[in-house]
Amino acid sequence: MINAVGRDIPEEILAQTGKEIFQGTHHFDGHTYKKDGPMTKCVIHSGGNKLVDSIHDVLVKCDIADGMTLGFHHHFRDGDYIVNMVMEEVHNMGIKDITICASSLGKAHDKLGEYIDDGTITNIQSSGVRGKIGQAISEGRLKGLAIMRSHGGRVRAIESGEVRIDIAFIGAPTCDDYGNSRGIGGKSNCGVLSYAMVDADYADKVVAITDCLVPFPNFPAHISMTKVDYVVVVDEIGDPKKIATGAAKPTTDMRKLMMADHCTQFVINTPYFKNGFSYQTGVGGASIASTISLSKVMKERNIRMRFGVGGLTKAMCDLLINDQVDVLLDTQDFDLAAVESVKNLNHFRISAGEYADPFNKGAVVNKLDFVILAALEIDVDFNCNVVVGSDGVITGAQGGHPDTAAGAKCTIVISPLLQGRIPAICTAVTTVTTPGECVDAVITDYGIAINPRRQDLIECMKDVDLPFTTMEELRDIAYSIAGTPEKVQFGDRVVGIIEARDGTIMDIVHQIKKD
């Protein structure tokens, strides 16, 4: 069945998953449903604590069994030890057929490749996967379907009961003996625990794992004791150097600086750039350069940002320090400066649900003016691919890309025309993760294309001296330089689905062909 972005979703997949095809970003606006609460084990007796000696023991207490779904957050990024620690124990206990429902998985989790091959793990639900896990899925070694969701989509799936998490493991930089967890105050701080909040609210069993036990009460709790069943203390929850890295420097690469500069010029010429505007950007060198050049214009024109949101970096936190923004809304901290900023008065932690869930009564992304994103590929219809490399292997993550693109009044995607020899601007993306209807402008080193759906933006850029062009022209230039790329050859088996924010199917991922 052909969906709203022109992708053909096989009937078998619709039947197997019980899902619908993607029918447009706002298709479910106004839809009503009942949320599905967790099993809750009361703790009435006074005294005592929730400490359990080891991960093995806590798995036993939680009645770990074949076929369970385990939840994890990715606030520890490439420095995470939690997933591997837990899965190693699960594996050693001979448990099979596990579904991992993580907010994301990355390079730190290559070890899971082994557990996929021996059947310990048969299903993976994640914002994205990289490295060996991505390869394992793309090569068809995962028995079940991989489901890739956005940050907002994961919350929707859990709260609606589509996904039932049996045991959630929450890595906590600090925790007391009753389960009050915080993202700061320990030795491996990640700042916030936004992605874990829905797990704490909806998983049947919630286990906090910490390497820094603190006296009760560990307040203000980022995750409350009222939702935590057990607490396990381990030596290390992660590698602090990789959890919160040193601040990325703004790029000195002229190509990226030029694109960042064009981005700022574009932003300031839209009607949304006025006092009280809101803004989100990413973590790359170009994003940081963009934020810095925007802050200069803000200073010149005396324009204040009302709020900045998202995964935060030093560049965004500096806006708060320099009093150029009123508040920061934090879903994740990428560097030490961001973790430090968490204790600032106007730096607020928000849950993934408050941030981006399309199925609650209204999330922050709906109030966002600007979001600056990147992408692996963008096609002439402005569809983005952020998950599947152009070699067909799953290698990226949806993250908040579809959420912010859908919510923001002005969605800008920055990408160089060519990544190596691969055209980033192409006729049709390998896999659609963010639909073109949400993307308003694409900025490359060869020019800027505005989505024809946004005649209003085209109108206000009429007299602006920027290199405007069309996606078709950009694609043609890319192909004339690099040659027209052949399509990746895929096998027949569907190994993964790209789930849209609303739970429908945006696209599917096939197994790669091995010669």
Partner: protein
Amino acid sequence: MNDNKKRLRRTMMFLNAQKPGLIRDPYIYKADSLMFDLEDAVAERQKDAARFSIYHALKKIDYRGCERVVRINGLDTKYWKEDVRCVVAGGCDAIRIPKTERAEQVKVVEAAVLAAEQEFGIPEGRTLLMAAIESARGVIKALDICEASERLFGIALSGGDYTKDLQTAITGTGIELMGARQNMIIAARAAGVQCFDTVYTDLDDMEGFRKDVKTIHLMGFDGKSIINPRQIPIVHEIFTPGEKEVVFAEKVVREIEDKAAKGIGVFTVDGKMIDIAFYDGAKRIIALAKAAGTYKGEL
């Protein structure tokens, strides 16, 4: 005369001809000229390989209006003759001769270029020349060098080698380059050709770079050699007449033409004394602005 001889050359960006990633699309940085280096940037053992790279790059890649200059190896090497054959066949716009000290060197290269143009069916005279001056003797002989060939559009100072020849070093103050700069700009103007200043190697000191560029601009230089795209916007900003300058120049041109018709030779424009001597300069400013794409007037 070759129409390109007097083209706008505010920036000339050095590129290593042996690095495919760099020569692929340097035009996005919008330098006026691109200088592909077969000389110092390329190791001895790669001189041959670099030629194939530059030949195909010149033939295949559309550099979108940037001038394509190639620096061949010195005349004291066994490489320069084949370099000339290669790049002329490839259709480069100009050849940069390193270590030029005598007019005769320019003439030798000119002969080789002509032979190559004939051999490969390139329109005669299409390939321009420029001479890099890197020694005390070269500075002294600058005027001879400038007048050595119709094809020669300009001379450039290579400060590093020159200061070594003087037995001093680049200090950042510019004092060690003073003599060379002044002699060369004087020689170039006397001969009616362009003059380019040496590279600025400290990429972390953009303030120092800006001061350096302002200095050579005031001295009359036509442009600067660039080693990193980040330097380009600064040079273009300083070397492109600003709006005020252009507006004033327009007034000067109009007033001179108007007053000449009325038989008036000296008058004031915006409080400044103007006579016919200002005409060429004003026209040059407007031409510069036009070439830089910033001219909005009607002259």
